[in-house]
């Protein structure tokens, strides 16, 4: 903060005294100096990155996650059977894992390896789409909800109404009326998922909305979106990242629950829930039907959860510098 010295050229102490213009002259405007604040070396995202890299377990976990994710694509190719060429075969039911069927076979005699990896891939894809969609919608609406007072009443009422009906009702109605598919599932999960995020963001906006710097900014005529985007959102980045990180494991869990209940994806789109639903009657006798999908999906969700937490900590500017 070197503003006083910057203004020096404009000051003429003890000069003349006849007119105000002689006493005060305009300071020379230098853009670089006007923008000059603290450390020039500081870059937000570079600090985030540096902080994150310092957390060794998290870095290892993110490698595990990325490798597993890539492997879901590779696995289908290196296995002995392609997912879309699977046929029921009575002679091959309930084979324990062996050389040909690496994860064994299910109750219809189909190769389990290709099913498990395909299901894991579907679950991750759905969770990623839903997570990002939820956060985008939730953050934009949450910012407006928190900032524009006249909208608060409307959104709060909307939140109460939607939140008080078990989502299961909406999901069942959607499954009955529109049908079941990957796209329908993704859209409807986003439609019901953005509200809690928006609510969370709204409560955060309330904290910063009436701070002095925002009042000043408003008085200077800053537009709505610029205030939201440049004045308020930066405070919320670590919250947003945390929500995104938690939303992906929880979407995977929610999808599996819905599909298990028969309200999620259709039977031809294998996902974790569908696999476990098919296996429910058999996995007491054939535990491998549970163990393989359970371990793979759990490793994916747990690593993502921990990496997300670590990344969110790294995003908090209070841990920087």
């Amino acid at each position: 903060m070197d503003m006083t010295t910057n203004n020096k050229p404009g000051l003429h102490p003890g000069g003349g005294g006849s007119a105000a213009d002689d006493l005060f002259t305009f300071a020379e405007y230098r853009h670089a100096q006007a923008e000059f604040t603290a450390s020039t070396e500081y870059s937000y995202w570079r600090s985030v990155w540096r902080n994150f890299l310092r957390n060794k377990p998290a870095v290892i976990m993110s490698f595990v996650f990325i490798i597993l994710f890539i492997f879901t694509f590779v696995a289908g190719v290196i296995g002995n059977y392609r997912y879309d060429e699977l046929r029921p075969d009575n002679k091959l039911i309930f084979l324990f894992p062996n050389d040909e069927f690496w994860f064994g076979t299910d109750n219809l005699g189909r190769d389990y390896w290709s099913q498990v990896w395909y299901a894991a891939q579907t679950s991750i894809k759905l969770a990623a789409i839903v997570g990002v969609g939820e956060i985008l919608l939730g953050v934009v609406i949450g910012l407006v909800w928190g900032y524009v007072r006249s909208l608060d009443r409307f959104f709060t009422e909307l939140y109460n109404v939607v939140n008080n009906v078990p989502t299961i009702i909406y999901m069942t109605l959607i499954a009955l009326m529109i049908g079941q598919s990957f796209l329908i599932m993704a859209v409807s999960l986003i439609c019901f998922g953005w509200l809690p995020t928006a609510r969370n963001i709204r409560n955060m906006v309330f904290i910063y909305r009436d701070r002095e710097y925002n009042l000043a900014s408003r008085c200077l005529g800053t537009g709505l979106w610029r205030i939201l985007w440049r004045n308020i959102l930066p405070y919320l980045i670590s919250v947003v990242v945390l929500r995104l990180a938690l939303s992906i494991p929880s979407t995977i869990a929610y999808e599996s629950t819905l599909s298990y209940l028969g309200l999620g994806l259709d039977v031809n789109t294998p996902s974790l829930g569908i696999l476990l639903r098919n296996a429910r009657s058999y996995f007491l006798d054939f535990p491998y039907l549970l163990i393989f999908p359970a371990v793979i999906v759990s490793v994916i969700t747990v690593t993502f959860y921990l990496v997300g937490n670590a990344f969110s900590d790294a995003c908090d500017p209070r841990n920087h510098l």
Binding site: E157, I169, L173, L261, L276, F283, T301, V302
Partner: protein
């Protein structure tokens, strides 16, 4: 306070009505074929079906039906079930189910509240020690691993190692309830642990704790008499809510162990298109939710007199 209560209750009634109206109209968007079983659809002629629907008043415009529904509601009549138990009043259908859910729910709530708070306190007391890390690992596991997988693991372990029944049965309620209760408590214990620990750690850094320690109070007394009392306030807010919601039951647990409770009733009612049951259950859920939040606020002011629901003077 009385005025505030009245206002809150009135608002809640509006919310509940709004919710049930939305569900009511959504249900009427489905084609009327859904009112019949597949067997009936094949057997009955179009004319017969038409007559039956007309007799039940289901062919009128949705808004006429809605007003009839409001009228019945004002007379506290929730209608009769159509498909789940034909001709039986809805209240009776629900009455038979909610005790099952509530028993499981309350037992597991008691278990998880006790275990969760005690473990949370211990975690806070021995922060950054080995036990604390184990506890954190447990909460991460429960939060990150999909519930369906956790339940499946409990099922396999319980059924194979302890020879417990894998399905709920009315004949052997006590033994067959064990696994559902374990599943329900396993997940919610983690929640109570996490938050108890978080609030306790926050409280522990405050000045009055230092004073209590300086006075020479034992560590145990500081923990339970001072810290826990303050840390419990935010937890207490959700207590009535979770107690009331036990009536609603847990859909996944009930479906997983074939428990004949409220959780499965709702989805069954929707997929079999038993509209009056769906409406009644929605009213029940919504009122329980709204009431739970309100009671939570009241309980919070009772435990912590510093909190007031009605603001005094000008606050933003």
């Amino acid at each position: 306070m009385l005025l505030y209560t009245m206002k809150r209750l009135l608002q809640s009634i509006v919310t509940v009505l709004l919710v049930v109206t939305i569900v009511f109209l959504l249900l009427r968007l489905l084609p009327t074929d859904y009112y019949f079983t597949e067997e009936q659809l094949i057997k009955l002629t179009d004319q017969q079906r038409h007559d039956q629907l007309a007799a039940a008043g289901l062919l009128d415009s949705p808004f006429v039906q809605l007003f009839r529904f409001y009228e019945d509601l004002a007379n506290l009549d929730l209608g009769t079930s159509r498909r789940i138990q034909h001709g039986v009043p809805v209240t009776q259908v629900i009455g038979g189910k909610f005790l099952v859910s509530m028993r499981l729910g309350l037992i597991s709530l008691a278990i998880s509240l006790f275990l969760g708070v005690v473990m949370g306190v211990l975690q806070a007391r021995y922060k950054d020690k080995f036990g604390d890390h184990v506890g954190t690992a447990y909460t991460v596991f429960v939060n990150a691993v999909p519930t369906l997988i956790t339940y499946s693991l409990v099922l396999v372990l319980g059924a194979r190692l302890f020879k417990l029944p894998s399905m709920y049965s009315v004949r052997n309620v006590a033994r067959s309830s064990i696994l559902p209760v374990v599943c329900l408590s396993l997940t919610s214990t983690a929640g109570y642990m996490l938050w108890t620990r978080r609030y306790m750690v926050d409280e522990l850094n405050k000045d009055y704790i230092k004073l209590a320690r300086l006075k020479g109070l034992s560590s145990r007394k500081v923990m339970y008499r001072h810290v826990l009392r303050n840390a419990f306030v935010p937890l207490a807010q959700y207590l009535p809510y979770s107690m009331l919601l036990t009536i609603g039951g847990s859909l996944l647990v009930e479906r997983f162990f074939s428990v004949p409770g409220m959780g499965t009733l709702l989805t069954d009612a929707i997929s079999r298109y038993d509209t009056s049951i769906v409406q009644a259950v929605v009213i029940l859920y919504a009122s329980l939710g709204v009431l739970g939040v309100f009671l939570g606020d009241v309980l919070m002011t009772l435990i912590d007199p510093r909190i007031r629901l009605i603001s005094k003077g000008n606050t933003r």
